[in-house]
Amino acid sequence: MKPLPLSGQATAVAGMSNQTGRMVLRVRTVADGRGDIGTHDIALVRNMDDAASARASGFQAACLVGGGADLGNIFPQHIKLPGQFAYLGDGDIIGLQPHSRKLRVLYRRGSSHNAFLVTERCNHYCLMCSQPPRDIDDGWILDEIADALPLIDPTTRTIGFTGGEPLLEWRRFVALLDATRMLLPDTSVHVLTNGRGFASAEVVSAWAAVGHPQLCAGIPLYSSVSDIHDYVVQARDAFDETVLGILRMKDKAQRVEIRVVLHKITAPRLVETCTWIARNLPFVDHVALMGLENTGFALANQDALWIDPIDYKQDLATGVSILDSVGLAVSVYNLPLCLLDREIWRFAVQSISDWKNAYLPICDGCAVRSSCAGFFSTGRMRESVGLQAVADHYSMVSGST
């Protein structure tokens, strides 16, 4: 089980540079014979024949994946990528630092799980963070995303912004959302934020002023007990600010999703947490109850965090039904069907991003594999004792979101 590599290093970069020391490129297949080649477009070629026809159709630069051909004569401007990037396809976008040859795949047109990391900085330090924060000056990332946005296929159904905490630089981030609304008005936009910034009326007004019809803030809330939430996110007063933020957002009719990650600290309190949400925040737009991704800090804190999902199976079913009974939209993310009570299968979503989603050998003979969330291929997987291929399709309904 290995995730798809989304970052790496080019084996060669020739003739490509600019003042900023970074560039955003969109790879295009050649066959289409297109007339819409822009300055950021780079031909995706497999061999010299491809390169020749790319040149003929007007490309100024090319990208060769996993081959040794010498492009230099046809394309003085080119990059070569190792074979692990063979999955790149038409319309995909990469960010490249020419001098270091480092690259990151920013957007894959064929994927429904495109998420842009906005910053690595964060004012939380969650015990199970899968993207451990770093206190670095990474403001350039926002520039890179701004460059990438115009290159995204406007028919893309959904994109995400994540961090770190996107609202730390909220003015610049809201400007990015503004650009997103103009460029991608039909794309739903999901932002993962700890929501504390929304405790400020100014931030919420700016956010609401974006006016994107499908903009949603996904905000984590780990317990109805503030001490426990604050402990999990390692920040005092986080609960208070996050809840005030949610209230301000709903007061301005902004879409809010609450995300509860389940581990040894939160799962045993799940019924209490769901009851509290159902009673106090029934007006949020969605609640996601999420299995733990065993990577990043979650590995470092395994002893404090690991719980076999089979041990909270009943509480999860109860929690879902409590939320559902007040009309809240609920989903269960990141958990395989065989670990869920069948009563809540209809709430289970294949949520794990395609590039890090995997199944086990046991899944081969399973009747519900095609609708099962499966596993994270990142980090170190811990197998539940409850895994078991399902023999029939009994009451299977596919995910709701």
């Binding site: 007990v225 503030s226 402990y231 208070d240 809840v243 209230l247 209490e272 106090n280 029934p282 007040v326």
Partner: protein, 486 residues
Amino acid sequence: MVRFLPEAHFASSGAGDLQLLPLRFERLDDHRYLVANLVGDILLMSAAELDRITSLAVVPGDGLYERAVSKQLIARKNQTSQLQLLGLRLRSRMAFLRNATPLHIFVVTLRCEHSCPYCQVSRRSTDRDRYDMSEETAMRGVDVALAAPMQSIKIEFQGGEPLLNFELVKKIVVEAEQRSAAIGKVVSFVITTNLALLTDGVLEFCREHAVLISTSLDGPADLHNKNRPRPGGNSHTLATTGIRRVQEILGDDRVGALMTTTEASLDRVEEIVDEYISLNLDGIFLRPLSPYGFAIKTKQFGKYDASRWLTFYERGLRYILDINRQGRYFPEFYASLLLKRMLTDRPIGYVDLRSPAGIGLGALVYNYDGKVFASDEGRMLAEMGDRAFELGDLASDDYRSLILSEKLVGLVSASLTQCAPQCSSCAYEPHCGADPVYHHATQLDPVGIKPLSEFCARHKGIFRLLFELLEGSPEDAAILRRWAAA
């Protein structure tokens, strides 16, 4: 290696760091208390636990601290989110106050061909001129109804038997429709009738004007006919045939029935429910007798007390839950109303159970003779000579003068559960309501001494029963939650 801070670093440091939020409690027995937060979320606790909460002798990790924080009984001192949430929820629960006087009841005649001993309005069998509402009075009633600030109002026709004056019903409907359309308001209609005089013409009119039908059905034939005597002793046949005809011609959802519990009903609740089921009605409202009208004169009221009624109610509710468990959705409407209050913060301004009371603010009653009452029960009292709830007369008053009358303002403000003795400290207060008419009728005081009040005893009993079902019986709780969500 990354460093994480221990749980204790984020935990409250104890009493000095905590504040007690508004809470109310109710003793269940020697050891157990129901403890409710400001908006009526209820928690079961031992006496010792309640003591610890009120003295803030709780610490993170002891379990009680977490329960109390989650139920918003206590909060960290520097926290504002819990207070904001409670404030927001209270505002939502009280939002029914934005909609003044949604219901307008027209007593189009006092005549009736039934002679029910528990009837709450004195019936007169003849003398059309004297006991029918005049067209002129009716039109003034329409004026007042349409002057209510609400965008959509409901007009209910009552009697006596309103079908005895159906010509006037038709005139009011047509007039209200035309005039409401002109000012952009919406009016819906319901006729409360015993169905004995139902004709094709009535049904045709109801279909054309989307008029709902509400009727009385007390149970199986012998019980119903005993409760509701009429010449021929065929009230039950007329009612059930009528219900079926309305269902057939107007649709299943266009007719509802109300039952009244007499002493004879007390050990027959299953049969009563079965009768409703067999008629394909969409639920039942298990109602106690009220202390008004003929129910007093004929000594029907007072034949059973709150505890006998509660036994009847609980037996009925459990039977209804059984039916639901077998897969048929069939709510008990009163439970479902109270559950909406207990399990959600939706504004439920049910006219007979709210505070500020629904008299006038929830409904106005236009009597056949033009007198205006603050509630239907209020006009029944007037029939017995007690005019405490008479607000004015259509001949001289308008909406403002009725609603702002000193009498109404006085009665409503005197009876607020939020500050009435007993109620203000009652755990169920957020879900209960003021009933100044009942307490005036039984104790000659709009507030009433609640420990002596059967209204209070009944409600405490139902709240407790519902709480116990929600906590103790997951299967029933799931059904009750579905009723609340409907």
